[in-house]
Symmetry: C2
Subunit: 176 residues, 2 copies
């Protein structure tokens, strides 16, 4: 239903319809932002080698959704994504000033000698690329790189009609 | 073999034999303390409710041991134990001074009015009980409360003939 409506709005253009659906997903997600996360599940993924694995919390509003098989699959998929893509932060706001300053120092050396007017811009670009790759919600989803993990969660919010949020996560890997 | 020898030493007394074996296990563990942990596995346990789970690293020396089914079972059992017993620290040394001082402050109020000579002793006892319960290696193993988690690991060290150590661990539980 949702799909067909978006496709009509986009006058038959499938790619446009996807954009419309995604935008709508983000809007639905924003609307539900204030609702309470009263339920959820803990899910884990261990790679077949047994030497790397992750565990995550995925929150929703009710046990009705947290008990749903598709919700469980979403949690499992995100855990698998974390094993594959090794994010350090959940969202950009989680990057501390200290970490930012440390990265800035490193990149500052790389832009030495560039014209002063461009320095700040290049630096900003480098920082965005560096941290963009390390933020879970911004990462391209491992099973469908066309969408980010945030879009994946937004899709689920639209589908289940409940606020859904990733809580804590960790990834362990055996050091050799 | 090991068991029979210990039983003979203990002149047939089974309980004594267990003590002898455990002591020997700790000795073997101490001897292997300097060897390198070059292998290991990541293991997780999610409770059937889906709302609480844990993930751990279990290190050993070689892939020969890390690939062993009994070693995998040990890792899984420890992950399950963590879900059940909710430890905060791996070993006593992991308790920070800050946490200790905070607990001391709380207990200080509880011993107010006690004779000065006894105060320090009661306080020490309270702190030991409080932190003893929160240290993974000191906790009674959930599947066999007769032994601590440390004794469980020491037994495995003796059995596999390799240094074995629990690495990082976390436990997630959905807050409602």
């Amino acid at each position: 239903m949702q799909c067909r409506k978006a496709l009509e709005e986009a006058s038959g253009d499938f790619d446009k319809a996807v954009v419309i659906l995604r935008k709508r997903g983000a809007e639905v997600a924003a609307k539900k932002a204030d609702r309470a996360l009263g339920a959820g599940i803990v899910s884990s993924y261990i790679h077949s080698t047994g030497t790397v694995g992750s565990i995550i919390e995925l929150y929703c509003e009710t046990d009705f959704v947290s008990g749903n098989e598709e919700f469980k699959k979403l949690a499992y998929d995100i855990a698998m994504h974390i094993v594959a893509s090794n994010p350090e932060f959940l969202k950009p706001e989680d990057i501390t000033e200290e970490t930012k300053n440390l990265a800035k120092e490193v990149f500052m050396k790389e832009v030495e000698g560039k014209p002063v007017a461009m320095k700040e811009k290049i630096l900003e670009g480098k920082l965005q690329a560096y941290f963009g790759e390390r933020v879970l919600l911004n990462q391209p989803f491992i099973k469908n790189p066309e969408m980010t993990v945030k879009a994946l969660v937004d899709d689920a919010i639209q589908k289940f009609g409940e606020k859904i949020e990733i809580g804590r996560f960790v990834r362990f890997s055996i050091k050799r």
